[in-house]
Symmetry: C2
Subunit: 428 residues, 2 copies
């Protein structure tokens, strides 16, 4: 009986766990695939040492240069867990152009190189699997791509960054943002570059993958309006809970606006009603709500990070790829590129916290800026502070994000208003 | 270009919606499948009339006898939405034995005929898709079968009957069970046979499908210990909320106990901690939690019933089937039957509400029965009633379900204790 031959590139935390599970679950995987699975090669800068630590037999080839991987003619599935962007890109493109099969967990690769990868698939007939790239083991990509393939998806909202959600959960318990970040670091949850978590860039990559999958046309993450949680502090969280009955959640959002192909995407802290399912998602969990015309609202929930969940998703992709390869099926053609979606921006209610000099006329100057841009105020609060600076919390009626942004810039240009501020959207 | 030819058997609510969507989403489905989709035939006892009402063109064949369907040689996918058991069984078996492809939403068919269907597939090489049979459009079956295929699933807990969950939600708001059922009926949520919803039989069929899929070996629903919500009333719901901080949810459960192949399955009302994600699932929504060794805890949530969600799942299966058929792939072999799982029954804490004559010695008789069977009491409450009968609420420490059942029978045999009682399990 033919076996399924797998090469794993990158023996970091996820790669090592994948290799470990490929071996310890060998019998179970054989039953699921219908053929034995064989680890043919590993590739890592420190491959000899790491392979030894993993107790790999001598029959498993050890490579240190991923550029040599595509030359392995007898490998069926290349698992790309290298990290970074350049090496993964080179490996994935080489494999896809040669009609080979690649499994990856690299959201950045997908977010940045979607069209290139699609092109390589279309030319070479290769196949790309990437369930682990968004929300870890939560199988939301397969649901969109396969289970909901007969439906019309109208919106995706997701808690896509576990670190930010963990921090917001701790801030709800009274921790300062700095202390919450330290706690996340201590638990090994945070990315090395804190900006990926704090400024929403990691979530923007995942929104890009989701949007590209849903619409069929690449959405460059650099084009997604992205706001993180860096500017939020205890006042915002407390005000949201006590006055508005809402919780702050960093959401990535894709909204398809009718059949005309208009698409809105953003990453932003949202104020979510307390009874909303996303408000119940705490700690480092991820959750993705998908709204579809027939299915209604679906939610997928689970751990979005960590070696176990990522390896679980990678193994699921390997099994799916293996079934396809061993059934002798021609890889399905790469889907045609859809026309680039036209950007839309639905009206949205906003929360705005400002710091301003506590003197006559300042509040009037702020509100008149909003009114000049046609942004209508829903609530306004100025708690007693006792200091020189007043803190003003404003919620607006729904407004165009673009218009709100212009009004905000005008307000921040007022001499009596500090540049330090916080903005959240209200989830309706 | 070859088209994918579909026949729909059964033009009830789900069948009609499926036909409607197959036509209105034609362009979208063509892009997803990579070929045009064509409605080749419909079959229904009132096919001529219903086809006319759906505005089907004359090219769509109208059959009134499902036994004539397998003779249609040019049909690629048979969609079975007939309802009942005998006709669906005959149709599915005939198609599978002839190597054809069947999509069904019929949980009863799967729960009752799993092994027969598997045998027909193994002999004939046909293919069976059934995402819509459990939890409507919530793609939990595909997640188990595909996304988690590389993981080891250890437990599945689910709110699988939307009607029961709707009733429990209304009872939390103070409605009587009868009023809650009337409300569900009015909204078209209830099954014609109320016992399917109230006694957990519908949920048991779904647990059977989940267990068979997870273990690979058929679990006959008639072997699943099944208790419904019929005996619960306002006192239980209030006590659960006010004293225990829990909510009542009718759960179907499958638990795999280690690698030895022991399996526990049941349907029972459970008392779920208020902070648990399943406690937040209200109204007619379904939710399934899947615990896997690597992925951790995943939850899938959405509408489990209704024409839209069911048709969405059916269309997803048609697209998946179509991709497989058009890629010229040999259908994957039917998975081998796993050895029948050995039943296990983990210890579980119980809630018990009894009615007893309010006279000396009765409480002592009840507690001594529990103690004789070694069931240890955690809490006991006897609120003032003022009447002739006392109401006693007991929670136990974890006990073997079998032992608890024997103790319960002994208690109910006491002359001073009414047969009317309520039992729930406590979710740990």
């Amino acid at each position: 009986m033919r076996s399924l031959r797998v090469a794993v590139a990158g023996l970091g935390i996820v790669g090592s766990e994948t290799v470990r599970l490929l071996r310890s679950r060998r019998d179970c995987l054989r039953r699921r695939i219908g053929a034995p699975i064989e680890l043919a090669a590993v590739c890592d800068r420190r491959a000899p040492e790491r392979a030894r630590r993993l107790g790999l037999p001598a029959s498993v080839r050890r490579l240190t240069d991923p550029r040599r991987l595509p030359a392995l003619r007898d490998v069926d599935v290349f698992v790309e867990l290298l990290g970074g962007l350049d090496e993964p890109r080179r490996l994935a493109l080489a494999c896809l152009r040669a009609g080979r099969c690649v499994v990856t967990a690299n959201k950045r690769l997908l977010a940045r190189c979607w069209d290139e990868l699609r092109g390589a698939r279309a030319r070479g007939g290769g196949r790309l699997w990437f369930e682990a790239s968004v929300a870890g083991a939560v199988p939301v990509l397969r649901a969109i791509e396969s289970s909901l393939a007969g439906d019309r998806i109208t919106a995706v909202h997701g808690i896509l960054n576990g670190t930010a959600n963990f921090m917001l959960s701790r801030m709800e318990e009274g921790l300062s943002p700095e202390a919450a970040l330290r706690r996340a670091r201590k638990l090994g949850l945070a990315e090395k570059d804190p900006s990926l978590d704090l400024d929403g860039r990691d979530a923007a990559d995942k929104v890009s993958v989701l949007a590209s999958l849903v619409t069929g046309a690449w959405l460059d993450p650099r084009r997604i309006p992205t706001r993180g949680i860096r500017e939020l502090d205890a006042r915002d969280i407390a005000f949201a809970g006590e006055v508005l009955g809402r919780r702050a959640r960093l959401l990535g959002m894709v909204r398809l606006d009718g059949p005309a192909g208009r698409v809105e995407a953003c990453v932003s802290p949202f104020l979510v009603p307390r009874e909303h399912p996303l408000a119940a998602v705490r700690d480092e969990f991820n959750a993705v709500m998908v709204r579809a015309a027939s299915a209604g609202e679906l939610m997928f929930y689970g751990k979005g990070a960590g070696a176990g969940p990522a390896a679980s998703a990678v193994l699921g992709d390997i099994v799916a790829a293996g079934r396809e390869i061993l059934s002798g099926k021609a890889a399905p053609p790469a889907p045609p590129a859809a026309p680039a979606p036209r950007p839309a921006a639905a009206d949205c209610a906003f929360y705005l916290r400002l710091s301003a000099l506590d003197r006559p006329g300042v509040l009037c100057a702020i509100t008149s800026k909003l009114s000049r841009f046609g942004v209508s105020i829903a609530t306004i609060h100025q708690p007693a502070t006792g200091g020189r600076d007043a803190c003003v919390m404003i919620t607006t009626h729904p407004a165009k994000p673009e218009i709100f942004g212009r009004a905000l810039r005008a307000i921040l240009a007022l001499p009596a208003v500090s540049r330090r501020h916080a903005v959240m959207r209200l989830l309706s």
